[in-house]
Structure formats: C-alpha cells, structure tokens
Symmetry: C2
Subunit: 147 residues, 2 copies
DNA sequence: CTCAGTGCAAAGGGTTTGCAGCCTA
DNA sequence: TAGGCTGCAAACCCTTTGCACTGAG
C-alpha cells in the first residue's frame, strides 16, 4: 500500500511533465529528502536539513517544490495551528488522522474506520461532496501526564 | 444551553477580575460586536467592523481582547488552514465541528455524538488525556456542485 | 499616584513574489 | 533561443511587542 521512492519519483516526473515543468536536481533532492523524514516537517525545517546537503539551495525553491509535491499528491499539508504548515508523505490511500500532545508535540497517527464512515455520513447528510478532511485530537501524552 | 449576552458579559468580567484585569469600554465593545457576528470571523475582519463603530480602536486591542476572550472560554479559535485564525463563540458545552465548502467558503456546524465517542476511544487507546480536538470536513456544497 | 489599558508603529514569523541570470530542451 | 528554474532579497500577511501616554481605582 505504501509507495517506494521509485514510484514516487515516477509520480512526480509524470505530474511535472503534465504541467510542462521539468525535473531538476533541486526538485529531486527535495523530494528524496522529504521522503526520508520520519516526522512531519515544516518547509522551514526541511530547508534547514537541505541546506546541510546543498548550502546553495534557496528558501523559495523549497516552498515552491513543497507546493508542487502537494499538487502532485505526494505531500499532504497538515495544520496543527502552530502558525506554520507541516508536510507529511501522502502515500497511503487511507486517510489517517493525528493525535498531538500539546505539551511535547509528540504525535501519533491513527486510523479509524468508524470515524471515516461517520464523516461520510455527515457529508451526505448536507449534500456535500467530500474533498478532504482533517481530524486533530489534542491531548496530553502519558509521559507528560507523569512529568 | 446557549448563553445570552448578559451571561457572557458576566463571565468575562469575572474572568477579568480573577486575572486582576479590568473591564473597559473597548473590551466591552469588542465582546458585544464579536457576539453579534453570525459567521466565524478573523481578528482582522472583526477589527474592520469595529473601526466603523469606533475609528480610534487599535489593531492590537482587538487581537489582545480576542486572546482574552479565548482564555475566558467565550471565544474559540478555529483553524481552517487559511493562514489566519477564525473565532467563534464558544457558548455551547458540546463541541461541534465544521463542514467547509472549499469553493465558496460556506460552512456548516454539525454535532455528532458518535464522533465524539470515537474520539474518546482513540485517546484512551493511546493513554492520552483529551484537551481539545478539531474536525474539519472540506467539501463542495450543493450549490457549488451545480454551478 | 500607581499600574493596567490603549493606539501607534515597528518588529516578528512564515510564506510568496519580482527579478536578473542560468540552464536546458 | 525561448521559457522554465533558481537564489536572493524584498514584499506580504497575520500577529505580537515596545513604548509613551492616558485614565481608572
């Protein structure tokens, strides 16, 4: 169900050519580096990581590329209300949601079939066509409850 | 279950005095104007509305007061990923969630007991203590589907 | 008289945009 | 050669902060 790097690379090049855009060394580097991340990253964080690999890379290039990756369906934007957008790989077809610790920022991805079903029910009730959804639970993780 | 303006005024003055803060004409005006709004407003929008009533009112005062109202439990911050925070009256004890049209911005508030239950289940599963949650469904409303 | 509250303007963070030069098809 | 791509810096938007002044208790 998850896609490997080669697949993603193919998806991105396909998207780019559809848009009359090109694959470049920067875009490739950003794609690879983004996919390697274990945690959701902000564009800013990704930029910092990338600068260590290629110090000449520009701020704007990272932001622009993350927008492209989002449009291509490779990245997904997350908003935890921190004032900046986080990105996660959008490789799984099933949508998962997030449980965020408001103290330490740790976050868990979870999947709940029933929630997905209920969401569809709501959307149908109002005659909407579902495009996307975001469910964030904010809480205090076990560690922080003890500390 | 919903609170009237007098109640809210009382809640706010109580909160203020607890914090050794004072009720002022500006704070009162902002509170009243905020409560009158039918739709979720950003601080910026509220500022624009307030300027028509009192042109001398300051940007910062609105932002500062909205923070106070949030802390007092009167306003609730919403984040639809637009880059700015929206506020809604937090008068109902039950949490409601939002269904937002991505085309026209129309949004519906809905309440679903089962979703609330499921959220508690998730939180318990991971040993978290629930603090808050936000569920936003993004879709296309019936009107925009036709148009 | 004290100290919170205010408006203003400047600063701040995250993100986008304008632009000249570069590079690739 | 044309047009996309880049890095840089400036611009932008939303929000917060510093500051001197005002005003209520």
């Amino acid at each position: 169900m998850t896609l490997n790097q080669k697949d993603i690379y193919g998806i991105f090049t396909k998207y780019l050519s559809e848009q009359n855009l090109r694959m470049t060394t920067q875009r490739e580097l950003i794609l690879k580096t983004f996919c390697k991340q274990k945690k959701h990253v902000t564009a800013e964080q990704l930029y910092e990581i990338l600068k260590k690999i290629d110090p000449t890379i520009g701020h704007a290039t990272v932001y622009r590329t993350m927008k492209l990756l989002t449009e291509a369906g490779i990245a997904r934007e997350l908003n935890f209300g921190e004032g900046s957008v986080r990105y996660e790989p959008d490789t799984a077809k099933e949508h998962h949601d997030h449980l965020v610790c408001v103290k330490c920022g740790e976050n868990i991805e979870f999947l709940d079939e029933e929630i997905e079903t209920l969401q569809n029910r709501i959307v149908n009730k109002y005659g909407y066509k579902l495009v996307d959804h975001s469910l964030n639970l904010y809480g205090i993780c076990p560690k922080c409850q003890k500390g």
